[in-house]
């Protein structure tokens, strides 16, 4: 039986880990992801799960343990944030290169310097070339749902690629929310048994993984790796639909909120979508044709689907919770503009950076953005393509 409970994002992930009971959990505590790992350690100590819990000396080592355990043939998970993900960075590429279906919960937090423990997306955006699938969650319910689906996606024979499920630090990780936890057996059944492809522990078929690879094979191995993430869209879609059938909450690449006859829209990810939806409702009540697109899957980037939806609009504001210093705009903006390049009719697109280091974003700021979009839609002119929201300028 599913049950309605009050949990925060971290507790919801810990619940999912308890239900899935992975073979190995290797993690190093870091704010704001600590309570995930702490709770799982308690579950192991209490005998609720029989996962091998490894607490190494750093996040670099935590990911290394995950890689070793996954290469051995285990179902493996971890959790981290910010500097923790940054210290794992070298090993992220190795997990993906070895096609190991590790699942990681990443609690988004700003990167130093200066030190800040609050939420923004600079950590996972910085890992956007690492080869991992990236799924962003609006709230604790989505974090829980996405984390469960992540195992199915990562472990699918056509994918075999690691997945990170992210949600905003403190705003989601530490705020209590009324949500649904599904029945233990139903979750176990949905996730299913894991069957590794080339486990190192299969001593009858000895292999080497990650060997030295000179100019004669590296290129082929890398393109072979890319096939996994290129196969992911079909699987992400199937798993999202099946999850919907079983549990009543269906997932795709992005959520379209009141987009049917929208002329202008905001595109963003994660927790700010909640506030944005309220603003959309207010403006819709006034008869304005505004909508919202909440991107769920950033890697693989659903460029064609997204471009198709955006190309029908007059003006779009892409809201990034990260920067790409020296680039012409933040990451989501750049990839969105690029995706629309070949369309003869394109909306005007502007970019706002918001919420760095956990800075609040409120309905007032969304109103400001929609006012700007309406002006652009009516005049056809963009005076400034890039700006900041709620910054002291």
């Amino acid at each position: 039986m599913s049950k309605i409970v009050t949990l925060n994002g971290n507790m919801a992930i810990a619940e999912a880990i308890r239900q899935i009971n992975p073979d190995v959990v290797a993690a190093y505590p870091i704010t704001p992801s600590t309570s995930i790992v702490e709770t799982v350690a308690q579950y192991v100590a209490d005998g609720l799960i029989d996962s091998e819990f490894v607490c190494p000396e750093s996040e670099h080592s935590a990911m290394s343990v995950c890689i070793g355990a996954a290469a051995a043939g285990g179902r493996v998970t971890t959790a981290t944030a910010s500097q923790g993900l940054a210290l794992m960075w070298e090993m992220l590429y190795i997990a993906a290169g070895l096609r190991l279906p590790i699942v990681a919960a990443i609690v988004n937090r700003a990167l130093s310097a200066p030190i800040n423990i609050h939420g923004d997306h600079s950590d996972t955006m910085g890992a956007r070339d690492s080869g991992w699938i990236q799924i962003y969650s609006e709230n604790a319910q989505e974090a829980y749902d996405n984390f469960i689906q992540a195992f199915r996606i990562a472990e699918h024979p056509d994918v075999r690629t690691p997945v990170m499920v992210t949600f905003d630090g403190f705003i989601i990780s530490h705020s209590l929310e009324t949500m649904k936890i599904e029945d233990d057996e139903a979750v176990k059944k949905f996730v299913g048994e894991y069957s590794p492809v080339y486990p190192l522990l299969d001593t009858d078929n000895p292999i080497t993984v990650g060997p030295i690879d000179f100019t004669d094979f590296y290129f082929e191995h890398k393109v072979n790796q890319l096939e996994g993430i290129e196969n992911a869209p079909k699987v992400i879609e199937e798993v999202g639909k099946e999850f919907g059938k079983r549990f009543g909450r269906e997932y795709g690449f992005f959520e379209e909120y009141r987009m049917d006859d929208a002329e202008v829209a905001i595109l963003l990810m994660s927790s700010a979508a909640g506030t944005a939806k309220e603003t959309v409702d207010e403006l819709r009540a006034q008869g304005k044709k505004v909508g919202l697109i909440k991107l769920r899957v950033f890697r693989p980037f659903p460029a064609r689907k997204l471009a198709e939806t955006l190309s029908r609009l007059k003006a779009v504001a892409v809201l990034d919770r990260a920067t790409s210093p020296g680039a012409e705009g933040a990451p989501l903006f750049v990839e969105t503009r690029s995706a629309l390049f070949d369309y003869p009719e394109r909306p005007k697109i502007i970019n706002y950076v918001y919420g760095l280091g956990g800075r609040d974003i409120t309905p007032e700021h969304f109103h400001q953005v929609y006012r700007k979009l309406e002006k652009i839609a009516s005049t056809g002119k963009v005076d400034q393509y890039y700006g900041y929201l709620n910054l002291r300028e």
Binding site: G210, F219, E220, E227
Partner: protein, 108 residues
Amino acid sequence: MKKAKTLEELKNATWKELPIGTVNPDPANSLKNFTGTWRSGKKPIFKKDTCIHCLFCWVYCPDMAIIVKDGKVLGINYDYCKGCGICEVECPTKPKSIEMVKEEVTLS
């Protein structure tokens, strides 16, 4: 549990034909990689008369160039000797039981 193709089968393979995850299906294939071809300038000579079979040379050798059987050093396997000379440095006997000597190399 998938049976991977052998390295021989994978020679000149396209990216589509490779096993996923950089899996190398050929265990212990470093045996086929003759690192001795890297050697230049000097090679070790084993002198069995003074050898006390302490196996220091075997322990320190970064490759598999010291031939040992039943706890006894039998000689050098030049297929895997890169000529680094650590065996000579670490040999504790006086005179040394391994000596690095000049080697003429013909570039192929």
